[in-house]
């Protein structure tokens, strides 16, 4: 939850405040709202700054948006705000999402905009129906496009969007070959503290990943009699050869110090 539950974050708007990359930066602006919320207003960087601090300051024309992991990395490294990313196999149920939000955690949620575009909350004049990033807290729903910049564009009014609308939008998010599924949510949650992580690898084989320029370039398989060590929080790395990304942690001590291994070996302590 937030350390100041009554604090209401200021909205960050991607079109009117986002500069040259604004149209690509809903997730970055949502991350700015999350940082604002988590720090009770002490840090409010704006989405444009999040983009410039990200691993992709110049958008890749093939996929110019950002993912939750990229903005979580900026939040942690530059603002000391840990965002717990729950995507892929670790997506949360809608019930858990709501329990966390009502309990005081902020959340950047990835949605399909199609259901929202069909309502009065449409912030893009019936021209956008794709994947979108938004921020939600117990106080309000923050759509980075909802600046009321002209007639027909929804203007942020500090309310929480209807829950069934958000549930449907989250479930319809396109994740490549399918949608997330009704009742599931891909989101990144604010936390009170930066948790410590420990990796525990049982006897047997594990993969050591090689990282270059922020991407996985190879991995090999090692045998161990088991070990455990402190490690970094999970991060997501793209691997071209696999055509997908992997959650990895970096070991911070012991005989395997600096190795990158699968985050499924790690847990919060």
């Amino acid at each position: 939850m937030s350390g100041c539950p009554s604090y209401v974050a200021d909205p960050s708007f991607q079109i009117t405040q986002g500069g040259v990359t604004g149209p690509y930066d809903c997730t970055a602006h949502s991350a700015s709202d999350a940082i604002d919320f988590a720090t009770c207003g002490a840090k409010d960087p704006g989405g444009r700054t999040i983009r410039l601090l990200s691993s992709e300051p110049v958008p890749d024309p093939a996929s110019p948006g950002l993912n939750l992991w990229q903005v979580a990395e900026v939040a942690l490294e530059h603002y000391g705000v840990y965002l717990e990313v729950r995507t892929g196999a670790r997506a949360v149920t809608w019930d858990e999402y709501e329990r966390r939000r009502k309990g005081g955690q902020g959340a950047i949620v990835q949605v399909s905009y199609a259901p929202i575009a069909a309502t009065k909350y449409d912030a893009f004049g019936s021209t956008f129906f794709g994947g979108h990033g938004m921020f939600e807290s117990v106080h309000a729903t923050y759509d980075p496009g909802a600046d009321g910049r002209r007639t027909g564009i929804w203007k942020f009014d500090g309310t929480v969007y209807p829950r069934e609308l958000m549930k449907r939008s989250a479930g319809l998010l396109d994740i490549g070959t399918r949608s997330v599924g009704y009742g599931l949510v891909w989101a990144a949650f604010t936390r009170d503290v930066i948790p410590d992580f420990k990796a525990s690898v049982p006897a047997g084989y594990y993969h050591r990943f090689y990282i270059s320029n922020g991407r996985i370039v190879d991995r090999d398989r090692l045998r161990t009699g088991s070990f455990s060590a402190e490690c970094s929080p999970p991060r997501l790395f793209w691997w071209s050869a696999a055509g997908k990304s992997y959650r990895l942690v970096q070991l911070r001590g012991g005989a395997h110090k600096d190795q990158w291994i699968a985050a499924s070996f790690a847990h919060e302590v």
């Binding site: 991607q14 079109i15 009117t16 500069g19 040259v20 604004g22 149209p23 690509y24 809903c26 997730t27 983009r51 410039l52 300051p57 110049v58 958008p59 024309p61 110019p64 948006g65 950002l66 993912n67 892929g88 196999a89 990835q110 956008f128 794709g130 990033g133 910049r149 002209r150 998010l173 396109d174 994740i175 490549g176 190879d218 991995r219 090999d220 398989r221 090692l222 045998r223 161990t224 009699g225 088991s226 070990f227 455990s228 060590a229 997501l236 793209w238 691997w239 050869a241 696999a242 055509g243 997908k244 990304s245 992997y246 959650r247 911070r252 012991g254 005989a255 699968a262 985050a263 499924s264």
Partner: protein, 56 residues
Amino acid sequence: MTDDPIDQDDEQAEPAPPTDDEPDAEPDVRNDPIPLQPGDPAPEDDPAAPFTEDPT
């Protein structure tokens, strides 16, 4: 740090190809670009990030 003392026997095996059943693998899902419309503010010229492609 709590390395277990029995871990002294790493040995490298053959590279393992990616598989589809790994819990740590997931698609890279990014937000989609917003198409600007007449009446929307034009993106400002920003030398800090010289990205000039038309987002539409």
